[in-house]
Symmetry: D2
Subunit: 379 residues, 4 copies
């Protein structure tokens, strides 16, 4: 029985890289670099094979995956030879993607929109006779959503969803629909997704697992290994400052203060949890269109050692966002599918390894998160 | 019963910082920044208090500690106020330091020199009615020593030591004398120290623990957390290049190819153990006199992600060598004294956390090393 | 006949470093590192000697210069030995500094306050039988001042100054008083100073030169040599992004959006003038208190070469603000005094070499600015 | 009358980029980014147009330019679309390239080899009815050549060339042949080329100009603007350290101590000329195969300011060697052709702007070099 992956934002750079990459690995047996599930530590794990994954998804644009892949070739994300190799697969994948109405959740009761999404998911499962289906949000980051009383419990939410005014942001509509359709939900972005008490309740009631939030691909990944190092050496971090330069759609979205707020809060939390206290220093996210799909993150750590000696560490991380994110999306699909098979419901804290802002009261250092994942995975 | 610390190279920058720092912490209760033994994780551990340590040592120069402290103030290592505060303590410490003859081990049988060192150590213990005594090598790095048959077992070594030609490098004479005098031995430098089969045998016969080698204070410390990160994320490190700029005595010594060789081998080993294979890239150690006691290490990591995307990480670490090393020397003194009290003999692999080139077949990632230390410490 | 230097903000870090440094160079003949006027290119120039300078000034605080020097020693700006050496000079200098009332310009007609300042300047000149007197603003950066009709010409300004409401920001009151008292005026900060049409008129009428604004000590200095390099090589700068981390009083002031605005505009202008067009990229100024008097500036330049190849340059500048600024303040005092002697009135564009935001339509590349200065200086 | 460019190493990465780039600019009118001759400052200069250049050359390998272009596409140097666009041009260019025998200069008298080269050059000129022909060496860097008496004057050299033992390195054979055939010679590499007294004599006798040596494309370019900045600000550079990571054929060649020696000497000379004295610091060139045609250069400058304050600047330059070099090769072709037309013979110091190690006693700061070029160019 195969595993379904439903990508929200299925024609974005990350999703296109996921689709092209999965096809390329299948087609020419290239090494699945960046895929955690393929490490020796997970050799005996009960995870679906990459070749057992079936992809579908929604997007608000309908440019073909082939066109998107061409863009990624020009941007230096996909090798031209890979794009050629998987052209057929992408055309086939196009057939499984559905056009989403960007205004769907704003007009009329949101319950109706959820129903449409549930139908799409159920159709996808039936068509391919799928076992577990995992819905993964890789769409653009939403601005933070303002709290509403209807978010607090499922009964109130159900009532509100039948009213005229929108009550859930798009990412949460998808989480709702996923649970309703018997699917797991993973939020790879800092959007709200399943992080509302009412949706938590629904995940438990429908017996579906969820995980998130915000894939840890660069600056925060580094912080999650370096902050513990300072702590374990008793070095006193005085200020941790950072600047991110990024292009692409995500850069444009995050340069807006609103959308960056939740991302920055997560970056800060990683430091504070690991360093046991407040740490000075700003984080900037600058939109630099010419960087395209690439990003550069500079971090400056000022710390104090023995007898007050002032020292510093600087880091520059230059990466391709889609290439960093795509293998983690594949990993999350496979690990979450395993959680489904193992009957997990509600949050899966053992997936904290993948996220900037993990669900639950979990450790924030990467080494412990890795050990948790390795020890938890069903075998 | 107090704990004795015998510093080899007792008037060097590291040792002077150790002595001044220990006195300052005692005197004004300043926070012992950089001391691992003072972290909450070690709150209940059976470690000697900083105030229970008694210091002695050898050096080949006899400039007073007060003069050395003035130099460290000018170099920005010691605050002027600290130097003033501890002037009396340093004068008292001067009285416990013995002048070493730099040529002692080269003329006449080395057995005689060992006897003199044993006498100094025994006198130190008796004078202060000490419990455990830990000999710590913080002298200049030696060039690698060429293997000799007499290194292979203790009987052969004992015979050779009575001969005319020198058979042991200075650091190993100290290790021999330490074990003979019933002391533990710690090598904070990349020198040979106790790392010979014959000395291993002696440590077991005399029931003394030893640890080393080469304190992990900067570039290698970073590598021991970053290399595991790349490994756990399945990212393929293509090349890890590094340049170290350092002044001070250590810079002058290490700029000579010979002395740097063992250091570089250790830096490389950390990468290879963590990344499971050979990694391209050179390491340079440049002597930049104007840097004084400060060092700058630049690392460039070229790595490959999903579908072969080439990405990079750069690091610049700017630190004060003595300020980074001194608290670790205090930690090693205390942890090794605890090992003595617990009856340990031979290598103590649980101290790998502190070293570039730890004894034994131990993990090379910092997080596991820290957990080993925490779980091992007697309580 | 000696030259007078009147420092506005005379007890700040920059001014204290100026005073201590000038005294130290006189006292022990230390090389005047960082002083442009001492370069071989200016060997025959008709500039006052460092030993001919007499210092006075205003500040709104009255902590003694000796205390300020102690602070700078702790901050690693002044060597302890220098502070000791010049303790007597600083005490003498204290006698020439006057306490300024921070609210003086806000209550009652500003004309009265100007009169008081003119009295102080005239007294200073008479007391020391000075030739030229140069007033230099090294006080904290002001927020940008809102334009007022009275700024447009001198007659209107004179009327307004007699009214109840304040019409000039403090830096401009000093410029006014300077011209009125027959002194030159230099603005080392991004404040308004003499940059108003009415004050320009006054400088011409009183026959006094002025220069400014905002000393070019780090990031902008680098930009003024690197931007021309890209231009002269035909390389296409796509984005120039920068982050400044700074502590000290200036950091606190500039972290406020308002005060940073004029600084950032100047940084941007240097790029645009040198690169002949708009350049993408943000500049951030972060206040990092633990940095004290030190600053770290990171710049990232993304550029395009032949056939569209994307390349980058990164820079990290780590400097001590006061040590960078102080010798330039001494230079400006001496070059401006020479301009006075040569009968210059109004702006002195040949001093553009020293400023982020120079007066007049001048070249913005450092090499040309240097040549202008060298060719202009009276000999 | 058209201008001929004869490339030595015509199938290398730089030459292939030159050929593809010149064709692409002609074909689609893309902006000639990185071409100095196209800057507004050179608008009225009497330079041959890019479309007037005719290319020929030698190489020791005979892989087709099309294959080489494919490699450059995979390496991210050439856009795939450019390679497609110019495929026909490259095929045509193949026809003008001649296979060189790598051992030609080692067997038999070198005079015979020179004759063959002269024939190739003369044939090239005749076939295309060319005006000036410029021979440009873009082959791999040679090891430094050992001085021989025959290098000292032309008469001795002519005799030696008829002997059995080789007397000139390959780059100098090309310089000889160029002058003999009435062509100018430019050395874009650090090889010996025309830098021998005997060849200087020949250039004057045949009335041909020459220029070199070693194109200034990265680290040295930066040094030639930053070192003057430190000098003009009176800042005291204590140490300038650098590490270069490069892949490609040049990386492999330069990682060998011998070949790097002349390059490092040139990098050092730029500092010493600009900073008026010896400067501490090493330069390393590391071969990192995975970098391919890209290079990363890190520079660390330690400098001293007012009152001895220690400060630093770090730079990381990440560039594509071929993309940086190719437009300069086109520039040198055009400027040198203009020198030919103007009747210049012997070295052309006004081309110092392009070289690490320029001929003659010329200024070493980029700004002055640029002004020299601009003021010299025939109009």
């Amino acid at each position: 029985m195969r595993t379904g992956i439903w990508l929200v934002g299925a024609r974005g750079s990350v999703a296109t890289t996921v689709l092209a990459g999965a096809a390329a690995i299948r087609a020419d047996g290239a090494p699945p670099t960046g895929c955690v599930a393929e490490l020796p530590d997970f050799a005996g794990a009960a995870l679906p094979e990459l070749s057992d994954l079936v992809f579908g998804g929604h997007d608000v644009v309908d440019v073909s995956l082939g066109k998107r892949a061409e863009h990624l070739v020009r941007a230096g994300v996909l090798p031209a030879s890979t794009a050629q190799l998987v052209a057929g697969d992408l055309e086939a994948a196009d057939a499984e993607l559905r056009l989403a109405d960007p205004d769907a959740g704003n007009t009329g009761p949101q319950a109706a929109e959820i129903e449409r999404l549930v139908d799409d998911l159920s159709g996808f499962r039936a068509r391919h006779e799928l076992g577990p289906v995992v819905v993964i949000n890789v769409a653009s980051t939403e601005p933070p959503c303002s709290p509403q009383p209807a978010h607090r419990n499922l009964a109130a939410l159900e009532t509100a969803l039948c009213g005229r005014s929108p009550v859930l942001p798009p990412s949460s509509l998808y989480a709702y629909a996923a649970f309703q359709a018997g699917c797991a939900f993973v939020d790879f972005t800092p959007s709200t997704g399943a992080r509302l008490p009412a949706l938590h309740e629904l995940s438990l009631r429908t017996g579906q697992p969820y995980a998130g939030r915000d894939g840890k691909t660069g600056q925060t990944l580094l912080r999650s290994v370096l902050a513990p190092m300072f702590a374990q050496r008793g070095l006193n971090v005085l200020a941790w400052s950072g600047t991110n330069l990024l292009g692409g759609g995500d850069g444009a979205t995050l340069a807006g203060q609103g959308a960056a707020a939740s991302k920055n809060a997560a970056k800060r939390r990683v430091l504070e949890r690991n360093l046991a206290g407040r740490v000075d220093g700003e984080v900037h996210i600058d939109y630099v269109p010419a960087l395209g799909d690439w990003k550069t993150a500079w971090d400056h750590v000022l710390f104090e050692g023995f007898l007050g000696a002032r020292m510093s560490l600087q880091l520059t991380w230059q990466g391709c966002d889609s290439a960093l994110a795509a293998p983690l999306v594949l990993d999350l699909a496979r690990f979450t599918a395993a959680a489904c098979r193992a009957g997990a419901a509600g949050p899966v804290p053992e997936l904290a390894f993948f996220f900037k802002d993990p669900v639950g009261d979990v450790p924030h250092d990467l080494a412990t998160q890795y050990a948790m994942l390795r020890d938890w995975v069903p075998r």
